[in-house]
């Protein structure tokens, strides 16, 4: 049953041509669906942003007003500025806090010890808790000024009662979210730690490196790409933080915890202002795109590496 080589080759090429068409047919429905459901709305958001359009005042119609909404948001609206500032502060604090705690958790788990699987499972659980449950539970069971567990502990230590959400609203939101996101950082960093070969560590130890030097000179540099990935991905998600703020503080007190997503929600659901909220949405997209571009470059790099490896 020896087949001539030329025949095999001809068959392979014919199959490749039909294969190309088939592969496009398999790919296209998903891409078209994605474009329709996720990209079309973004285009419309931009379009709406050029209009004055208030749902509760239909008599105004929706008139084209050019860049007016964007100009107002960027130069005049004091709340939008506060929202940008709050979003950056809250996002940076959550990313930083959960990165540090996540690294600590990952270092604890990156050893062999009994019940390691159980410890890991317990540590990742917070990541699965829905944001609204996180906020409702923390607000009532933990941070409630009278009945909350935190104040019980706080007063046991000899301090005065604190109404955490009223006095330290930003810190409370950050603490809630850090609890949720530290496991996320931990998972990525743990994968990175496990990728560092024991030989490299051994070599460092033989050269006389203590645990601190080993961590600073070996672990941290080799962990670099993972830290970068964790920070960028974390930022993408945490910039969108909404449930915690909606439930725990409703952007308040005042505008202390009003972030961009929450302000957009307020503008559409309370002011019914389609034009202004769309302009805010567009600006939110612009901010996120900058981070997304960095992240995409990083991921494409790892993807290419994966292809050639």
């Amino acid at each position: 049953m020896a087949t001539p080589a030329t025949q095999v080759d001809a068959g392979r090429w014919a199959f490749l041509r039909s294969q190309r068409m088939a592969s496009i047919a398999l790919l296209l429905p998903a891409l078209a669906y994605l474009a329709l459901m996720t990209q079309a709305p973004f285009v419309l958001t931009l379009w709406y942003g050029f209009h004055r359009w208030i749902l509760t005042s239909p008599e105004l119609g929706h008139a084209w007003i050019g860049l007016e909404n964007f100009r107002y948001e960027l130069t005049q609206d004091p709340i939008f500025r506060t929202a940008i500032k709050n979003t950056l502060e809250i996002t940076a604090s959550i990313v930083g806090g959960s990165l540090v705690i996540g690294l600590g958790l990952a270092l604890l788990l990156n050893r062999t010890f009994p019940l390691r699987g159980v410890a890991r499972s317990l540590m990742i659980a917070p990541f699965f808790v829905m944001p609204t449950v996180n906020a409702v539970v923390q607000k009532n069971l933990f941070l409630n000024p009278i009945f909350g567990l935190v104040n019980w502990f706080w007063t046991t230590l000899g301090f005065h009662r604190v109404d955490w959400l009223a006095v330290h609203p930003k810190f409370s939101i950050i603490a809630m979210a850090v609890w949720q996101w530290a496991p996320f950082m931990m998972l990525i960093l743990l994968a990175g730690l496990q990728g560092i070969s024991e030989e490299v560590r051994e070599a460092a130890r033989i050269d006389g490196a203590g645990p601190v030097t080993e961590f600073r000179r070996i672990t941290l540099p080799l962990l670099g790409p993972y830290v970068e990935l964790a920070v960028l991905l974390g930022m993408i998600y945490i910039l969108q933080l909404f449930g915690e703020i909606f439930v725990a503080t409703q952007g308040g007190p005042g505008t202390e915890t009003t972030t961009i997503p929450y302000y957009v929600y307020q503008t559409i659901s309370q002011a019914n202002d389609v034009g202004t909220s769309s302009a805010q949405g567009v600006l939110a997209i612009v901010f996120s795109s900058i981070i997304a571009a960095l992240l995409l470059r990083l991921l494409t790099r790892t993807f290419r590496k994966g292809l050639t490896a």
Binding site: Y226, L229, Q240, G306
Partner: protein, 284 residues
Amino acid sequence: MSAVTPRVVVPSRPRVRPGAVGLNLLTYAVAFLVFFPVLWTLLTAFKKEADAAATPPKFFFQATLSNFSTVFDAGYFTYFKNTVILAGGSTVLALVLGLPAAYSLAFNPSKHTPKVLSWVLSTKMLPAVGALIPLVVIYKRVGLFDTRLGMILLYAAFNLPLVIWMMRSFFADLPKEILEASIVDGAGFFRIMTRIVLPLTAPGLAATALLSLIFSWNEFLLAVNLTAANSGTLPVFISGFQTSEGLFFAKMSAASTLAVAPVILAGWLAQRSLVRGLTFGAVK
């Protein structure tokens, strides 16, 4: 260290260093502390309201199931059912659209593949709030507002990038020979998919589906803006427990426990592929 050295089995077991036991104990303590809010919610769900609000907090109490029945009387089941239908429906739709795409990208890569993948991913990175306004306006106009179908269509789109990226990375790990053999045998896409590819990547498929379920289950921004009485989900129901007046801690905890327990269990099941899912296959 010459090549002829006989294979001596060197015990590579880590030496028990002084302080290792202490570090183990610290790890257990930290794990308990991290998990404690979940545990405390679970405990509170079984308390009587008076015990739930007691100061100092009660660690030992007489357990009751009454909170759960109260929560169910408050319409919990409708929200639970909606959540199951939305999460399940959107996951199925995302898989139906995403699996063929992942297959195509993994097995017939072209020079455009990196660009396509990068675009797919970019749709996941733009904030949902940027798409929210037109969705509210259009959904109200075409009658999809507050419908399960409308939410399934949306959640499927939001989980599609995850399915494509994750499954592509699982498919790409398969040995090429297996596929080439079956293609030469003349098997089509469906046969190769159902007989060879999916059985071999079943754990990855399960993890992808679980992650998609989890994200849909927990989603709040779109749910709170696009649903009302008919298709409201658990995150929306839970967000109703906002005011801190009155004694409702135990009922709130019961509702929270029921909403969170399935997700934590699903997450633990998907643990092995969790990192791959969260990093879109960049970390394996």
